[in-house]
Structure formats: structure tokens, C-alpha cells
Symmetry: C2
Subunit: 325 residues, 2 copies
């Protein structure tokens, strides 16, 4: 009976290459793959091993689950993911769930069917479906997943509230991020704590999601309910930019009569008028570092920190009375 | 020697299912796949067929090549693509080239290695690498690819120029899109033709790309070189929004002293102040229709129209003197 050595000899390749091809544990060129197939056929090499290894072949694919690709924050995360993985020879399967959790489960099943080597998820899902596939959570917190990269919400919430406090606020409205997002809750807690410590009162409005349509609804509601508002702490740049527009149409002067702070620092926040002061989250770095962690995980490398929390900073532009300094 | 019937009998499945599994021509559950693998091993079924069919297995993957995922136009195209393909059980591999053509070739190779069933490309690449993989071009024109979905540039260029003409322009500056993009050239030709027919003169500025940083540079150059400008026809919303900001900082009143028209109608164009008048391109529909065409192509269905040109329209908002009507 033929052995792996015979296959390697006939194919004119090393045993290591043939073994890699059959176990799917490393890169093998298409040309080598063809030679190996030919040799396997020619020699009638044990089908058991071949069939099994081929079925088990690990792909060079990573599944990426995003809550909403039309929110400009997530394309930046995706860019970081792609930049790291492409260099390592991995490809990214895109799963955009448009904040629909049913879709998250469908994608996770599809990732499994495609035999992905790992999953990067910016969605909080409680599903255990994929428990044997290495997974890193990006920009979210998921109790069920050990590994994650996100940025510092306690710091971010504090910085946003402190910046608003410097502008002599009399009527603050805080918009809470969606309740389903753990990190939005952490950030809100930090905002509230900072305002309470300063003994400053505020009103609270709950938002439903980070989707554009929902942000517009929240902005309208806010001005209808609190026309006296002079300071707004928004849970995302999408919310803040929507508010700037609503404020313009209702003739509020920004920042003299109304100061606004965003969260995220998406590219467009630099382009609106006035330019949006916001908390900068390192979206690209979250993606890049997350991919790096996943790569280590997929290759059974030692991982020193299972949760990486990246610092944020205040990006001072034109929508705060104090300037923010 | 064992036959496919023996494998089917032992697996408790139909010959058709076993054949599907081995040729990769249809859906086979993970459970059935395991039973088949077991039967193949048990019976020592001809390795030649197994190895060959496994290597040839068509994936349920489609490669999507995008020029720049941080340009909000393309996430909308991607959304359309995904919405169609997910329903059909296909997954999308993301290839974001960041306007770097070298990267396009790397991605095309990676798509091939992953044995994608088809390619959707929003990049003009002259590479023939993937000539045997069904391909549809999205939002671009590529002479080498028979199938494509994009929107009507002749109509779009004309509509933009006509809208600007209604605002009594005295100093028009037209920004030409990147020279490498065929469609930008077609659009420019239509703008120029419309202005010439109206016997109105204009200045022309060449832009290098649709990237944000390049757009900022172009905006600065434009105002430095043509401080008397009172009308600008931009090749993208990114360009137009960058111009609105530069205009604000240089104290031009929009639209009274300076009217601006964009192109694309990305979500953010509704949110800037003043709200941007622009030519609406159906980005989502380009993605959705392109995926539909690719699906027909992958399944050897008859395709009536190989090029689908979708209509555009003027989206009237607040940056034109005439209102645009």
C-alpha cells in the first residue's frame, strides 16, 4: 500500500508539504495541490486519510459579524480587520446583521458551514453555536466570549461629561445608547456618575438603536420635549450629527446656545458644520488588534491579555462652548 | 470494488445525495456529509473520485471587490449584495482594496484559492486571472467584463449641470472625478456638453481619487485658485461635503453666494448643514441587482440584459440657489 512518502516522491514535493495540504494546516500553492491530487489518484493512496483530512480541512476564512455596515464606525473596524488578516493570507466573510439578531444566528451557522478558522464579532450574541471556533469580540462585551478588544467606556463617559460641564450647562440632556448594548450602559453610568459628582442635574432620553432613522426620531423627540436644552451628550456621532441638523432647523446657535458632544469620531464628524467635538474611539485599531488576537488564538499561541481595553480621547472641535480644553 | 450505490446504502442516503456531496453541486447537510465520509472510509470507496470531487467542490462563496469601504457609498452597495445573496444561501468574502490596484490582484487570487462561485467587483481591473469565474461589475465599467450593473452617468451629468444652470451661475468650477474611473469621465463629458450647449463657461479642476484626504486637498486648491467661484459641480458627495465645510470656514454663504451640487446621495448628505442637493445613485439597488445577475450567471440561467443601467434623479435639498426645481 502507498504511503505519504510515495505521494511526496511522485509529486516531487516534500512530505511536509503533502502533509500540510492534507491537513490544511498551512499554505500550499494551487500547483502543488494539483500535483498531490494527481499522485494520490495515481498511487491509490489510502482514501480514509484523504477523505477525512479533506473534509476536515481548515479554511483560510474568518467570519466578521457587524451590527450595521452603514454606520461609518464599522467599515473602519472592518478595514483594521482586513489589513491585518490579508497580510496573513486570510480572507474575511462579511456578515452584516443590520441590528437584527435573528440574522446573527443565520450568519454564525453559515460561518460554520464554510468551516471558518475563526470569528470576529461586533455583535453581542448569546448563542453558543460556534463554541469550538476561536472567537474574539470587537467593540462589544459578551460574557460568553473570553476574548475581546474594545475601548474604554468609563474613561469615555467621564471625558464627555467633563467637557460638557466646562461649558456652564443649565439644561443638560443625556441620550442613553440602546439598552441592548452593554458598553452603551457602561458609558452612560460613567456620564451619570460624573454629572452627579459635580451635583449637576440632567434629563435622560432613551435611544432605540444606532440606526440613522432611529437617531432622527430621537432628535425630534428631544427638542420637542426639552426646548430649553443647552447641552447634549450623545451616545454616537450619528446621534450628534442628527441633533446638529435638527438644531439648525430650529435655529439654535451651536455652540453658544447649544453645545453638543458626540461619541466615536467617525470620518464625517470632521466634515460637518460646525465640526463635531467628540470622543475618539480607535475603530481601526479595535479591528486590527482584534484580528491579531484571533490570529494568535487560531494558531494556539499564548495570549497574554484576553481583554484589551484601548484608551479613548477627547477630540476638540467646534461644538462645545468652552472649546473643551 | 465499492460503488457509489454501496456508499449510499451504508450511509442510508440516496445516490443523488451522495453524488451531490461529492460533486458539490447542491446542498448537503453536515449530518449527511458525516455519514458519507464514514461510508467512504468504511468501504474504501475509490479515492480518485473522492479526492477529485472534493478538490473541485464549488463553494457557496462570492467575492466582493470594493474600492474603498470607508466611502459610505460602498457599504450601501455591499448591503444590497448581501441582502440578495444571503437569501440564496451564499456568503460574501470582502475585498476592500482602498484604491490600491495591486491589492485587487491579490484579492482576485485569494478569491480563486477559496474557490468562489462568483465575483462582484466595483473595481476596474484589467486582470484576466479569473476569466473562468462568473463575474459581474458593479458601479463601474470594465471592457473585459460582459456583465455589469451601474447607473446612468449621461443622465446624471446632465441633471447636475442643468440644476446648477438654474441658479444664474457666473463662475462655475467643475471638479472632474479621478481619471482612472471610466464612469467619472462619462459623467464629466455630459456635464461639459450641457454647459457648452447653454454657452456657459467654466473652470475645470482634476481630482485624484474619491478618498477623503484627497477631497480635502482638492477643496483647498479650488478656493485658493478660484476665490470668485459661485457654483461648484462635485463628482461625489464626499467632495461636495468637504467643499461645504471649506466654504463655511472661508465665510461663503451657501447657497446665496455659492451653490454646490454633489453626486451619490450617501446617507450623510441628508445630515450636513445645509442639507446637500445631489444626484441620487441607487447604490443599494446596484448591489442587489448585480447579485441577482451574478446568481443567474452562476446557475447558467438565461440573462436578458448583460448591462443594466439604472436611472438616477436629482435630490433637491438646500445647496442650490434655484432650489433646483
Amino acid at each position: 500500500m502507498a504511503t505519504i512518502k510515495d505521494v511526496a516522491n511522485l509529486a516531487g514535493l516534500s512530505v511536509a508539504t503533502v502533509s500540510r495540504a492534507m491537513n490544511g494546516t498551512g499554505y500550499v500553492s494551487e500547483d502543488a495541490r494539483k500535483k498531490i491530487t494527481y499522485a494520490i489518484n495515481k498511487l491509490d493512496y489510502s482514501p480514509n486519510e484523504v477523505a477525512r483530512s479533506l473534509f476536515q480541512k481548515k479554511s483560510k476564512l474568518v467570519g466578521l459579524l457587524l451590527p450595521d455596515i452603514s454606520n461609518p464606525f464599522f467599515p473602519m473596524v472592518a478595514k483594521g480587520v482586513e489589513d491585518f488578516l490579508q497580510k496573513k493570507g486570510y480572507q474575511v466573510i462579511l456578515g452584516n446583521i443590520q441590528e437584527d439578531n435573528e440574522k446573527a444566528n443565520e450568519y454564525l451557522r453559515a460561518f460554520e458551514q464554510n468551516n471558518v478558522a475563526g470569528i470576529l464579532s461586533a455583535v453581542e450574541h448569546k448563542s453558543k453555536n460556534h463554541s469550538d471556533i476561536p472567537t474574539v469580540i470587537l467593540d462589544r462585551i459578551d460574557e460568553d466570549v473570553e476574548y475581546g478588544v474594545y475601548s474604554d467606556d468609563t474613561q469615555g463617559g467621564r471625558l464627555a461629561a467633563e467637557a460638557i460641564l466646562k461649558g456652564q450647562p443649565h439644561n443638560i440632556v443625556v441620550i442613553a445608547g440602546p439598552e441592548s448594548v452593554t458598553r452603551a450602559r457602561d458609558r452612560l453610568m460613567s456620564v451619570e456618575q460624573t454629572l452627579k459628582m459635580a451635583k449637576v442635574s440632567y434629563a435622560l432620553i432613551q435611544s432605540n438603536s444606532f440606526l440613522l432613522e432611529d437617531a432622527k426620531e430621537t432628535a425630534t423627540l428631544l427638542f420637542d420635549r426639552y426646548p430649553q436644552v443647552d447641552s447634549i451628550i450623545a451616545p454616537s456621532d450619528t446621534h450628534a450629527i442628527t441633533i446638529l441638523q435638527e438644531a439648525y432647523h430650529r435655529s439654535y446657535q451651536v455652540p453658544q446656545a447649544l453645545q453638543v458632544i458626540g461619541y466615536d469620531d467617525v470620518p464625517i464628524s470632521k466634515l460637518v458644520v460646525p465640526r463635531l467635538t467628540t470622543i475618539h474611539q480607535p475603530a481601526y485599531k479595535v479591528g486590527f488588534k482584534g484580528a491579531e488576537m484571533l490570529y494568535a488564538l487560531m494558531n494556539n499561541e499564548h495570549i497574554e491579555r484576553k481583554k484589551i481595553i484601548l484608551p479613548v480621547h477627547l477630540e476638540v472641535r467646534e461644538t462645545l462652548r468652552s472649546g473643551g480644553e
